[in-house]
Amino acid sequence: MPPQRIDNPPVADLDEPPERSGIGTLPRAAPPVSGSSRPAGGLAARVQCARRTYGTGAASVVALADVTVGFPAGEFTAIMGPSGSGKSTLMHCMAGLDTLTSGQAFIRDTDLASLTDRELTVLRRDRLGFVFQAFNLLPTLTAEENITLPADLAGRSVDRAWFDTVVSTLGLQERLTHRPAQLSGGQQQRTAVARALVSRPEVVFADEPTGALDSKASAELLRFLRSVVDDLGQTVVMVTHDPVAAAYADRVVFLVDGSVVEELAHPTRDSVLETMKRLGG
């Protein structure tokens, strides 16, 4: 049973009292749990004939060349490819951060092209989670405030039990009152992951989340992403150029020159490396 949701909840005015979704009346996103009640397959995000070009005329650059690809719900997918292959563009277009020149992008059944800027913003806030490579956090907010930021922007309160679970799993309990400047790089990225998960989004998009981390912190973060997929049925899409990171995924999609050229299920570091070599990456 797909979780019930309001597609376009009203954006709360900054001063309106938080619109509380009363427990039981409007369960926005039932906690995805493992086992039988896990969202029954389907594609959490997909693009169809997605084309994205930058610039016009002779100077135009094709970043995505008619890509069609889907990302199953409850799976951890990695997108790989050499620099300039369009992997980040693909992710940005699927996440409503960038718009396609032609073709369609869907989050579940919602066609992103049909949404206004405001609806897109609300979609990002309520249905997606983001982890960027760097600069994930607002320097003026504490770690806790950064984690609850999307909910605060929506004027909603977070599910405290779920919040505590996420925070303790990520080992951030002691860091909640700290400002980003007082956190290590790994802690900052974990805080970003917590923010992405705390609203139980349909898809978490991670753009090189380990790019700025050392190998130990990277491994910790990736293990956590793996576990939210396994234990909670969370859908994660991650852009990376690191074969080790990609090996944590259920599946790897390879892009070259704006096209999907290969898909690899159950990747290992070696199989990913081998594929990369073959593709000339």
Binding site: V11, L14, R125, F132, L141, E145, L149, D152, L153, G155
Partner: protein
């Protein structure tokens, strides 16, 4: 380094514009003031030189002391026989006596042509063309007969009079009808600085102006080959002691000097407004450069790392400031010339015609503009520049966003102490009263405290606002303010300065308004006051005579004013008739007796007597400009602040003996017991129909009129100060734009994780409102406190009441919040349009 500076200046046009605008307003004020006063002085020089160009020597009564331009007191007239004596002096080609006095020309509807404050002159018109100098007949001829008049071209144009028309003129002794036979011009100018002139043949003028057998001055033309200086000496030798001879040039210089004195007062007032604008502007500059330096931290550190010395970094930023200052000074100078032209048109609009000449841009004006523009900018930029030069090269490697620190404990304590000392000083001044200098000092101290403790104030305010809802605009806005408290404080302080002055003026003016009612109605027993309409010179005593004996009228008390030295100090002395005094006003006699107030005595307000150290029975020396020293006995002292508007009373008989002009400053009227005030007012109105320059007011109207004039003055001052507030608003816009640019990534991240455009706009708007409110609250608070102290400081100047205009102050507060919203429009739009992708991708 120069190329780096130049490129930096041009890199951001909007920032350049906002920064330049902040300095330009102040520079424009300064240069505009200079251009205006120089232009007017030059024009008047030309005019006076022209007027006296044909006159070699002027003979006139000797003044007891130099009265200055403001008092307009004339020297005592000379016996007409003296004209013949002067004519006898060898070397004199022609000598002509002349008189001047009060003559109010009425237009076709019977209303005064000149309702403003400029003089309404009646004068004799001489026959000697050369003596007339630049005064010439544009049309017609010189008046000769008893009903012939020549009027100035300005008045003729205003009322549409032509040669052959009949015109009514009011004199001090009555009203008469004349035929216009000539139109007079003064060189190329139509009137003498807006004054109206009615010219008559000498004997007629003497009769009409109440100067039969006397002349005010004798204009002398020298024979060919005789120098003015020589002739002056020769003439002086034959003059009686109470007359003096001056060359035409000396008289022209005197006139110019008088105008210059008047202009100097005007200029000083304008320069005060200029100073406020400059001060506000310097805060904006300081702030802009602080932000610039913060933004370029890495760039500066990189420059240092590749080998730029501290001095080079400092010089680079100072050169940049200098360039901005130079541009601002140039634009300000041009704007100043425009402002001068604008003010001149404004003066013309209210009836003060200024002789025209090309705009005078003296080297001093250019130097002043450049100095103000460049020096203010560079001084304001120095601290930020110095801070930048202290940056260690290692900073280039740090990635952390620049977060300006708060202030150290020492500075915070010093700031709060200064603020407390200043406010305590103001409270003390308000309690003691009459301490204008200390009030100013205390205000400055408090303000210096605000500047010093400003950042901690900003942080405090941010903490207050931080209690808002999580993710809510107020809370995030408060965090952003708290992040850069120095910047927020400097931005807000620019507004604080403007509002402090505006509110201090508002409180003082409203106190003055409340006090005016007291002094107008205080001790008053009269039912009506006859006063000159508008800012006219006076009421003809003939009008008072007319009212005397009217049905229902009891006492008619004429009040005449002159300036004189009382024990050596220049004062306004009022002449009153002791007989009717007690009927029109209750003086509240403290000492002596009203019965003792006879010729040869005077009454003093107790405070004035105390200041002079005299008590009833003591001799007091009064020096009249016309007649010199007179010693009178102090008959008594009084306590009431009255509508006599003077603390120095002498009997009317003594006044007439020492002052030639018989114009009444005002006439107080009481009605008989049982008479109906309305009926008497009707009678008065009917009787005075001939005197359209006289207004009839009851005490309530007098109060209302006096209050209206306070309001008018307040409006004018507030309008000028608003320019400074506009500069402060530009500063807010500037700060917001810079902080939005600085936070592009943060704003993009906010958008990425789900902040809508309108939420971003709200965020920026609230930061703006918080800064505006910080400036407004501190400014209004300090302004109100110093306004109260200032009102108390002016206790002896007649501000006896204290009134805080809460409504006005509240309106200012609301306006400040609105200004915050308005200032944020552009920056907020810019913030809501940040490129999300640029924020979240790492290049």
């Amino acid at each position: 380094m120069l190329r780096v500076s130049l490129r930096n200046v041009l890199a951001n046009k909007l920032r350049l514009f906002l920064t330049v605008a902040a300095v330009t307003v102040g520079v424009a004020f300064v240069s505009g003031t200079f251009v205006l006063s120089d232009t007017m002085s030059r024009a008047f020089d030309q005019l006076f030189t022209g007027l006296t160009s044909g006159t070699d020597v002027v003979v006139r009564g000797q003044s007891a002391y130099t009265t200055g331009a403001a008092t307009q007191a004339q020297p005592r007239p000379l016996d007409q026989a003296l004209v013949a004596d002067v004519e006898q002096v060898p070397g004199v080609a022609a000598a002509e006596g002349g008189v001047t006095g009060f003559a109010l020309i009425l237009d076709r509807d019977g209303l005064p042509i000149q309702p403003g404050g400029a003089p309404t002159l009646g004068a004799s018109v001489g026959g000697d063309e050369q003596l007339a100098g630049a005064v010439g007949f544009r049309e017609g001829r010189a008046p000769g007969g008893p009903d012939e008049v020549a009027i100035d071209a300005g008045s003729a144009e205003k009322a549409g009079y032509q040669v052959g028309d009949s015109v009514d003129i009011v004199f001090q002794d009555g009203r008469d009808t004349f035929t216009v036979v000539g139109i007079v011009g003064f060189g190329t100018t139509d009137s003498l600085a807006g004054a109206t002139l009615a010219g008559f043949d000498l004997p007629i003028a003497q009769q009409l102006l109440g100067k039969v057998g006397v002349v005010d001055e004798i204009d002398v033309r020298a024979d060919d080959g005789v120098t003015a200086g020589q002739l002056r000496a020769d003439i002086a030798a034959v003059l009686p002691e109470d007359a003096e001879a001056l060359t035409g040039l000396q008289v022209a210089d005197e006139g110019s000097a008088a105008v210059r004195d008047g202009m100097a007062v005007f200029s000083r007032v304008l320069l005060i407004f200029a100073a406020v604008s400059v001060l506000v502007g310097s805060f904006v500059i300081w702030n802009t450069f602080s932000v610039l330096v913060a933004q370029r931290r890495r760039e500066v550190a990189l420059l240092r790392a590749v080998g730029a010395s501290r001095r080079q970094v400092l010089t680079g930023i100072m050169v940049e400031a200098g360039l901005i200052g130079l541009v601002s000074a140039g634009v300000g100078l041009l704007a100043g010339v425009g402002l001068a032209v604008g003010i001149r048109s404004l003066l013309k609009l209210i009836g003060i015609e200024v002789p025209t000449t090309s705009a005078a841009i003296e080297p001093r004006t250019i130097v002043a503009a450049l100095l103000v523009g460049v020096v203010v900018t560079m001084v304001a930029a120095f601290v930020p520049a110095w801070t930048a030069s202290r940056l260690a090269p290692i900073e280039a490697l740090h990635d952390a966003a620049p977060t300006a620190a708060g202030i150290g404990a020492r500075r915070r304590i010093a700031g709060w102490l200064m603020l407390a000392a200043g406010v305590a000083g103001l409270a003390a001044c308000a309690t003691v009263g009459n301490e204008p200098a200390l009030t100013g000092l205390a205000t400055l101290t408090a303000f210096a405290g605000l500047v010093t403790a400003g950042p901690s104030l900003a942080q405090g305010m941010a903490r207050l606002a931080d209690h808002g809802r999580r993710g809510g605009g107020w809370r995030m806005a408060a965090r952003n303010i708290a992040r850069a408290p120095r910047r927020a404080a400097a931005t807000a302080l620019a507004l604080t300065i403007g509002l402090t002055v505006v509110c201090a003026v508002a409180v003082t003016a409203s106190s003055l308004k409340a006090s005016v009612a007291d002094s107008v109605t205080g001790g008053n027993r009269s039912d009506f006051a006859l006063q000159p309409a508008g800012a006219g010179l006076g009421v003809s005593p003939a009008a008072a005579d007319l009212v005397r004996g009217l049905d229902g009228v009891d006492t008619v008390e004429e009040l005449r004013y002159t300036s004189a030295l009382v024990q050596g100090g220049s004062r306004t002395v009022v002449g009153v008739d002791p007989a009717g005094l007690d009927q029109v006003v209750d003086l509240g006699l403290q000492d002596g007796a009203l019965a003792a107030f006879t010729p040869g005595t005077m009454l003093l307000r107790a405070k004035a007597a105390e200041a002079l150290g005299v008590t009833a029975g003591d001799p007091v020396t009064i020096t009249f400009p016309e007649t010199g020293e007179r010693t009178v006995t102090l008959a008594g002292t009084f306590s009431q602040d009255t509508l006599l508007e003077s603390d120095y009373l002498i009997p009317l008989a003594d006044f007439e003996e020492n002052v030639t002009s018989r114009l009444d400053g005002s006439v107080l009227v009481t009605i008989r017991d049982g008479a109906s005030p309305a009926a008497v007012e009707r009678t008065l109105t009917q009787a005075l129909a001939e005197y359209p320059n006289v207004t009839i007011s009851d005490p309530a109207q007098l109060t209302a009129d006096a209050q209206a004039s306070v309001d008018q003055m307040l409006g004018l001052i507030t309008a000028l100060l608003l320019l400074a507030v506009v500069v402060a608003v530009l500063g807010i816009v500037n700060t917001l734009v810079l902080s939005v640019v600085e936070r592009t990534r943060e704003l993009g991240l906010l958008r990425a994780v789900g902040a809508t455009r309108s939420q971003i706009r709200t965020l920026v708007r609230r930061e703006s409102v918080l800064m505006s409110l910080l400036g407004a609250v501190t400014g209004i608070a300090l302004g109100t406190v110093s306004g109260i102290a200032l009102s108390r400081a002016l206790l002896d100047q007649g501000v006896t009441r204290l009134a805080v205009p809460t409504v006005t102050l509240t309106v200012y507060l609301v306006i400040a919040a609105l200004v915050g919203v308005l200032a944020a429009i552009g920056p907020a739009r810019r913030a809501s349009r940040v490129d999300i992708l640029r924020a979240v991708t790492t290049e």
